[in-house]
């Protein structure tokens, strides 16, 4: 058992985590840190807890916190939980400082890292709740599969729950679990799925395609959609498909659908059915920052009719663009570039923090997503 414990610790780059302190000294250490340097200011608008059961994420999560705090001042709690290990609690404190956007003093956000061995739901809950910045909202980013630790007394205190369905081995099961939690009266959190957030700009791009009257006339004639997604990004494609069906008020016909092709029928009216096909494609050599989840989204009317393409295009200088192409019979082809926003975890979580709100549309889409996952 002792060996096992040591093996876990070896995997954690503790030198990145700042100063190791006894848990009961965390607040006084942070106070002393800020009192020692009058040239810095502590800033915090939210509590951001990142929960992970993987020790290999520690260094990446520390980088993420450092980058996020440039735009989102917060108290960051990084909780590395090892439910299988021996009971053990260790803590580190550090501050991430940036020169403020006015070029003035350094603005600092605190990061408190916890390593919880043999962690139970009680331990995680206690550690998180004991170290929050009072009165500020709690954003809880749950990395990986939902485990036994995710229980009512934890999620009832969360304001925003961030998950990433791209990393789930069985999204259908995990979404069922969230649906069960959602039925609890105490679940008042707003749910965000990073895979859905990743579709934000694509949804905007689809909307932009139909922003002028000539294009808008074509919406009722759309019959086919092709979505080419990068490996590992299937959940974003699924969210996109659920969204399109929702916006066009169409219902899935499970009998005519399989895991890669979905057929939707109109809820009412006389428009024709819509066939949506998903294609996976290996996307090699792209960095996380510019590599978006989709390579192409095409919306097509019946043969010989209008066609709308949103195609990824890189300029070779590190910048990526969506190439929006509108081809409508009788009109000159219209083509524009739209800069791709960051698709790294920092950019996506930053977007969640920036937009805030009730995330109503995503919640509304959940039943459709579950239906698509169980075809």
């Amino acid at each position: 058992m002792e060996n096992e414990k040591s093996e876990h610790l070896k995997e954690i780059p503790t030198e990145l985590l700042g100063k190791e302190v006894p848990v009961k000294r965390i607040d006084s250490e942070l106070r002393e840190y800020f009192a020692a340097d009058t040239g810095i200011a502590r800033a915090s608008l939210i509590n951001l807890a990142i929960y992970s059961e993987s020790v290999v994420r520690v260094s990446r999560n520390t980088e993420i916190i450092q980058e996020l705090t440039r735009e989102h001042a917060c108290r960051a709690l990084l909780v590395v939980s090892q439910p299988e290990g021996e009971m053990e609690v260790r803590a580190w404190v550090q501050a991430h400082c940036n020169i403020d956007s006015g070029g003035g003093k350094a603005v600092c956000s605190e990061q408190v890292t916890f390593l919880l061995g043999g962690s139970s739901a009680d331990l995680v809950r206690n550690i998180v709740f004991a170290h929050l910045d009072a009165d500020l909202p709690l954003v809880f980013w749950w990395q990986g599969e939902l485990s036994e630790v995710f229980e009512e007394r934890l999620f009832s205190r969360i304001d925003r729950l961030v998950v990433d369905s791209r990393n789930w081995s069985d999204p259908a099961v995990q979404f069922l679990r969230l649906a069960a939690a959602d039925r609890e009266e105490e679940a008042t959190y707003v749910l965000h799925d990073i895979a859905y957030t990743q579709s934000n700009q694509l949804r905007e791009a689809v909307a932009l395609c139909f922003d002028d009257p000539a294009a808008l006339e074509q919406v009722n004639f759309l019959e086919e959609v092709e979505v080419v997604y990068a490996t590992g990004q299937r959940m974003t494609a699924v969210w996109l498909v659920a969204w399109m069906a929702n916006r066009l008020q169409m219902e899935l016909n499970p009998a005519l659908s399989d895991g890669e092709t979905f057929v939707f029928e109109p809820s009412s009216g006389s428009r024709s059915a819509l066939k949506v096909s998903l294609f996976e494609q290996v996307d090699e050599g792209k960095s996380e920052q510019i590599s978006p989840p989709m390579l192409r989204v095409s919306l097509m009317a019946a043969e010989g009719g209008a066609r709308f393409d949103i195609v990824r295009s890189d300029d070779g200088q590190g910048a990526g663009f969506w190439h929006l192409k509108r081809s409508i019979p009788g009109r000159a082809e219209n083509s524009e570039l739209w800069p791709i926003r960051s698709y790294g975890e920092v950019g996506l979580v930053g977007e969640i923090l920036m937009r805030a709100g009730r995330n109503r549309l995503m919640i509304e889409l959940l039943p459709r997503v579950r239906a698509l996952l169980t075809v």
Partner: protein, 515 residues
């Protein structure tokens, strides 16, 4: 299909800018090069421009599209090196065109109409047209009247049912009430008031927009926001520049009162003093702002103006460690000029909320630093408990910093640690730059998007402009037409203004807040 089913409220809660052709009059001018095109390019770089947007620069100089684009690219590279991307610029600039014409030449406008129709026919555009009048003010009439004569003030016959034609007009909106009314008449003879957007870039600043949020989205301020709890309000706009870059030629015809107070500072005052609007619609907000302007107590006659307004010019001095010449010795300023470079006013708002609460407004050139701030000075608590305690005479002050270092601070009293009861003022300070790492967008970016979206909340309405001029004209008349006008005071460049301005508050037992 009536509306785009893919549009989401959740994704973008502001009004959505609609695709259009933007025609800029005065396209070779500084405003176009330094503000408008960089704002449009930055919006494109952030993916915030509506697709299919086309820009046509309209100006007198002979130029091709390519030469016009090259000139703009050079400026973008200089102003926005961080956002410049060659491929993005190529994509953006292929939608930028140049149209050469004299402003007084009707044929030029007819040629513009042909060009607009051609672009719309080729691209299947929306038929929306936004005309931005950014020329020198003496051409405003010509441009607007010729737009009407060429039929450009109306949507094209073949455009969609929801298509629109709008005009954005840059300041100055006249030089007095008569010229403002004339300009408004010309504008409204061409465009309906609801299609007219008068730019006051101060309203596009994040902190100006935050005034309404601060007041109406926080429960703790509004109950105190009246004459029972507020002693007085100060609005200061200080500039540490003089007449650099040939600015004296324009400034000497305007002065601090007309250049800054009539528009920017009275807009800020309206936002501070207005009643809660019934809704956040453009007219809902502007209706309340107009009521404030209509409630400003007029100053009639030189004596009343002399008692409530101080005007001054700077004499030689030192600013930012450098010697500064006197106003009358500045480049392109009349040596015998009677134009004020500083003005301080005591303004009363005659309504229930503000009865007895003076608003002190000051604006000056060549002051010690650049700062625009609003401070709300609360009344002292009843003097029964701590009135004999050292340090107890300080008031609570809520400060809204418009620029620079945008933010809000609240000064309050606190006990000094120790066995003795001593009090000291402490400041709770919120700074945008510290709390929100993301910088505020440029005012012109926001205002351009709003004009494309049809949201006029941050633009001045006709009656706002005219009521502001009505108030200002009384002062100008006393200064320039009275037999015995109030005197022109002096202050050394680099000081906080003339002694007379300090005296204006001292008479009321108050003093200017130290910035």
């Amino acid at each position: 299909m009536e509306s785009n089913p893919f549009l989401e409220e959740d994704l973008d809660i502001r009004n959505r800018p609609e695709s259009c052709i933007l025609v800029i009059f005065g396209a070779t001018g500084d405003l176009t090069h330094r503000k408008l095109i960089p704002a449009l390019y930055n919006l494109a770089a952030e993916g915030n421009l509506p697709p299919g947007l086309k820009v046509i620069g309209f100006a007198r100089r002979e130029k091709s599209d390519a030469v016009f684009r090259d000139g703009l690219e050079k400026v973008i590279k200089e102003i926005s090196p961080a956002t410049y991307n060659q491929r993005l610029w190529e994509s953006f600039s292929q939608n930028v065109f140049y149209h050469q014409s004299e402003f007084q030449d009707l044929e030029g406008y007819e040629g513009l109409r042909t060009r607009l129709e051609q672009i719309e026919a080729e691209g299947g555009g929306s038929g929306n047209r936004l005309f931005y009048v950014a020329s020198a003010p003496e051409f405003f009439d010509d441009i607007l009247l010729h737009l009407r004569d060429a039929g450009l003030n109306k949507v094209a016959a073949n455009a969609g049912a929801d298509a629109w034609a709008r005009a954005v007009v840059e300041k100055p909106f006249g030089t007095d009430l008569v010229t403002a009314k004339h300009l408004n008449r010309v504008v409204n003879d061409t465009f309906h008031e609801s299609d007219t957007y008068r730019i006051d870039h101060y309203l596009g600043k994040e902190t100006a927009q935050n005034i309404m949020v601060l007041r109406f989205a926080n429960a703790i301020f509004e109950p105190l926001w009246n004459n029972r709890h507020i002693d007085h309000v100060q609005i200061t706009c200080a500039e540490n520049l003089g007449m650099e870059g040939g600015r004296g030629a324009y400034y000497d015809t305007a002065g601090a009162l007309r250049d800054m107070v009539q528009n920017h500072l009275l807009q800020l005052l309206s936002l501070i003093a207005m009643e809660p609007p019934t809704d956040l619609s453009a007219d809902g907000v502007r209706d309340e702002k107009v009521k404030v302007l209509r409630s400003l107590r007029p100053m009639s006659g030189a004596d009343e103006v002399g008692a409530n307004v101080v005007r001054a010019q700077y004499t030689a001095g030192v600013v930012d460690g450098k010697e500064a010449v006197a106003y009358r010795r500045e480049d392109r300023v009349n040596p015998g000029s009677l134009t004020e470079s500083f003005v301080a006013l005591r303004i009363h708002i005659d309504n229930w909320r503000w009865e007895g609460v003076p608003f002190y407004v000051r604006m000056g050139k060549q002051l010690p630093k650049k700062a625009t701030e609003i401070s709300i000075h609360f009344k002292q608590p009843p003097a029964v408990l701590f009135n004999t305690v050292p340090g107890a005479d300080s008031e609570n002050v809520l400060v809204i910093r418009i620029q620079p270092n945008e933010g809000i601070s609240l000064r309050m009293q606190s006990k000094l640690p120790g066995p003795a009861l001593r009090m000291e003022s402490v400041k709770m300070d919120f700074q945008y730059a510290t709390s929100f790492g993301k910088g505020s967008p440029e005012a012109y970016e926001r205002l351009l998007l709003d004009a494309m979206a049809g949201d006029a909340t941050l633009f001045a309405r006709r009656d706002e402009v005219e009521n502001a001029w009505k108030f200002i004209d009384e002062i100008e008349h006393a200064w320039h037409k009275a037999e015995t006008p109030p005197k022109m005071a002096e202050y050394p460049a680099g000081s906080w203004g003339p002694q007379e301005a300090d005296e204006l508050l001292r008479q009321d037992g108050r003093h200017w807040r130290r910035l």
